[in-house]
């Protein structure tokens, strides 16, 4: 039964990984851009939730809402002000700019908040759970996270498939130059995608901050988890990203059940195995040549 429990916990945390991966998957899908500051943005958001809770009357949930909106705005601005200038055939400028921004965020957080671990104390929701059997229980908070992740990912997928703007996203991803001929401002569209990416990762950062502790340097590992979820699931598919997050979460949880503290390493190894055996991902379409 402990294994069933480990499996369930893995699925639950997998939802969070998928939420982390959403923005990475989206920005790669729409503009072939990989934001190496992605994990640091999540950590930044978690710190902002803490700092701004006083402003909104002490509620972390309200603070989170504010932070998600502000981060989305920052996402839009940073795409138009910085990242749009790095797009092109050569990925180097984008990699370097986003890597640099991540390191700057990390150190600025350290300068301002010190290196001590913090967490977002959300109160009773963190401890309440549904007891299934003596060994198996499902925490309310992880369940909420998983549900939010599913809602965000399926909402985004539906948006891309069935709305006018979603159609423009797909068209621009295919061929931005021809999309311009349709009257689509590709630069604006990229910024909207980045706003969604920043908003989603801010949400993920909030949940991460509630479920465990974080420090200015936590972002690197979060980037790796998000990236692994994307690659395991298969590039360019949001459903794949959800599945990839869950595979990663289950792997980590089961490994930790067997060898305590081996979760990260086990996740990395499964990622490398997928990369070696099925580079297009477990659920991704084979790449078009």
């Amino acid at each position: 039964m402990v294994w069933v429990n480990a499996l369930i916990q893995g699925v639950l945390v997998g939802g969070l990984y998928a939420l982390f991966a959403t923005g990475l998957s989206l920005s790669f899908g729409v503009m072939r851009f990989v934001n190496l500051a992605h994990g640091d943005l999540a950590v930044l958001a978690a710190y902002l939730v803490l700092s701004w809770s006083g402003v909104v009357g002490g509620s972390y949930w309200l603070s989170m809402t504010l932070v998600v909106v502000v981060m989305a705005g920052i996402g839009y601005a940073s795409q138009r002000g910085i990242f749009n200038f790095t797009l092109g055939a050569d990925p180097l400028p984008g990699i370097l700019a986003s890597f640099g921004i991540g390191i700057v965020i990390q150190n600025a957080l350290q300068e301002h908040f010190t290196a001590t671990d913090k967490s977002i104390r959300l109160g009773s929701i963190l401890t309440r759970s549904i007891k299934v059997t003596d060994d198996v229980s499902i925490g309310w908070f992880p369940l909420v996270i998983l549900l939010v992740a599913v809602v965000v990912l399926s909402g985004l997928q539906l948006f891309l498939s069935f709305t006018k703007l979603g159609r423009e996203f797909r068209a621009t991803a295919d061929d931005p130059k021809t999309a311009q001929l349709m009257g689509i401002n590709d630069k604006h569209l990229y910024a909207v995608a980045m706003a969604i990416a920043f908003g989603a990762v801010a949400l993920a950062g909030f949940f991460q901050g509630g479920r465990t502790t974080f420090a200015p340097t936590s972002g690197g590992l979060l980037l790796l988890f998000a990236f692994e979820a994307v690659v395991i699931g298969g590039l360019g598919s949001l459903w794949g990203t959800l599945a990839g997050g869950i595979v990663l979460g289950v792997t980590q949880s089961l490994a930790n059940q067997q060898w305590i503290g081996s979760n990260s390493l086990a996740g990395h190894i499964v990622f490398l195995a997928v990369l070696a055996i099925r580079p297009s991902g477990l659920f991704g379409a084979r790449e078009r040549s």
Partner: protein
């Protein structure tokens, strides 16, 4: 009355590479104007300059408005649509979505999906298909339909006959009168002089980034065109 499109002293190119040198043309309402010339003469660059996708100096005036500083994505709103060389359909969109997206950012007008399907009936059974698995002729019809969905006053066609069987090309050119009747003016770029002369009211011949000859098909002799085309004196 002024021309619909007046281009004067146009220099344009990509990065350090200049493709057009002081070029000037004009197009009147309701005309079909063909631009012919050898590979590399600058024909496609001229169309890309009209839609705003190359760096340029000089003047492009469309219906009394100077386009020079208007970004590319806003020009379709002025009534300028380009059917790019190689069709360039959106591969991850269905045929229907490819048509719909052509009209996303423009005001409603004469053209809608039904009107496009009447013009090109061959598209009708393909609407739900992915656009990347179709024949060249089907793709070309969809690409023209997509441009028409923007209700253009000026339709630019770049090498529509390229890579297509003659019978398919014939079918596409037969659609031109209907397009002009809808109120569109057409500029077509062609390497196939025969096809171009058959369809156009007027012809510009380009050589090395300049206009080397212009006139109506009736005025121009084969020899004069060949000379202007290949640059032999």
């Amino acid at each position: 009355m002024t021309h619909l499109l007046t281009i004067e002293n146009l220099n344009a190119g990509y990065g350090d590479f200049q493709a057009l040198f002081g070029l000037g043309i004009h197009v009147d309402r309701g005309e079909i104007v063909a631009i012919v010339g050898a590979n590399g003469a600058g024909k496609s660059t001229l169309l890309r300059a009209i839609v705003g996708q190359v760096t340029m100096t000089g003047s492009i005036v469309f219906d009394g408005e100077s386009l020079g500083s208007i970004p590319a994505h806003r020009r379709v709103g002025f009534g300028i649509s380009l059917v790019p060389e190689g069709r360039k359909l959106f591969a991850s969109l269905t045929v229907e979505e490819n048509l719909l997206i052509g009209g996303h950012r423009t005001a409603a007008g004469r053209w809608n999906i039904e009107a496009v399907l009447d013009l090109f009936p061959l598209i009708r059974p393909l609407l739900k298909r992915q656009s990347d698995k179709l024949s060249g002729g089907e793709q070309q019809a969809i690409a023209i339909g997509r441009a028409l969905m923007g209700n253009p006053r000026l339709l630019l066609l770049d090498e529509v006959s390229l890579g297509l069987a003659p019978v398919v090309v014939k079918g596409i050119y037969e659609a031109l009168p209907g397009i002009v009747a809808s109120g569109a003016t057409v500029i077509l770029v062609e390497q196939d002089i025969g096809v171009a002369l058959g369809a156009a009211d007027r012809v510009y011949c380009m050589l090395e980034g300049r206009v080397s000859l212009s006139g109506t098909p009736a005025e121009l002799s084969r020899e004069a065109i060949a000379a202007a085309y290949f640059g032999v004196a």
